[in-house]
């Protein structure tokens, strides 16, 4: 079935630094979504992309519009509240989204 590979699996960031997360797909995907799961388990929607890029505050996401086989999430000027587990999920024309295993992000002072 469809596979979503997320990297890195974990990331430690100093406050104020920038970083990028990536998802690779083993097949062409129709769209991609990014979520952050906080310590209480709530999954918060960050982005939905069918193509191109979107930006929201210090977060920016891109979805490769040509081959549609990877997506990135950039964190700029990391803050403590950015800590959490980030998931990408892709729509591969099958039932439901296929989720990656997540990137655990820890931001420290």
């Amino acid at each position: 079935g469809d596979q979503v590979e997320q990297s890195p699996s974990a990331l430690s960031l100093h406050e104020g630094t920038d970083s990028a997360l990536r998802c690779n797909f083993t097949t062409t995907m129709r769209s991609v979504q990014w979520f952050r799961q906080n310590s209480r388990g709530s999954l918060i929607s960050l982005f939905y992309l069918a193509s191109g890029t979107k930006e929201n505050g210090r977060l920016k996401s891109a979805f490769d519009s040509k081959e549609r086989r990877y997506s990135t999430l950039h964190i700029r000027d990391a803050q403590l509240e950015d800590s959490g587990t980030y998931f990408c999920a892709a729509d591969g024309y099958a039932q439901g989204l296929t989720f990656g295993l997540g990137t655990r992000v820890s931001v420290f002072p």
């Binding site: 388990g41 709530s42 929607s45 999920a89 039932q95 439901g96 989204l97 295993l101």
Partner: protein, 113 residues
């Protein structure tokens, strides 16, 4: 701000019991879902429901069944729980057809003793 509401937050039960989890969305969305998140944090689709059409992930055991009274509600019933059903169950909704932007509830954590 939460707009997908799940109850209960936690449930502990014994093998063989029946359980039911509730989900309600106030977003006016047309499609609702149930996902299961296992102990390794992997999320997998269980059910998608849109306009009285139900799509079932073929890997879901038959003891699981969704129940909907209207498009704002999609409950999950487990007829006879097994130890491997211990997990977090997440309800979600999206505006139109399947797999548009999803909004999740806070989840129901099930522990089967």
């Amino acid at each position: 701000e939460t707009a997908v509401f799940q109850t209960p937050n936690y449930h502990v039960t014994q093998v063989g019991n029946e359980v039911s989890f509730n989900c309600k969305q106030t977003l006016g969305h047309d499609t609702m879902y149930w996902y299961k998140q296992d102990s390794k944090k992997l999320l997998k689709i269980m059910f998608s429901y849109n306009n009285k059409q139900l799509i079932v992930n073929e890997t879901v055991p038959r003891r699981f069944s969704p129940q909907s009274s209207d498009k704002a509600h999609l409950n999950l019933r487990i007829k006879s729980v097994e130890p491997e059903d211990s997990a977090v169950y997440l309800c979600a909704s999206s505006l139109g057809t399947y797999n548009e932007r999803l909004f999740f509830g806070h989840g129901t954590k099930l522990s089967v003793l």
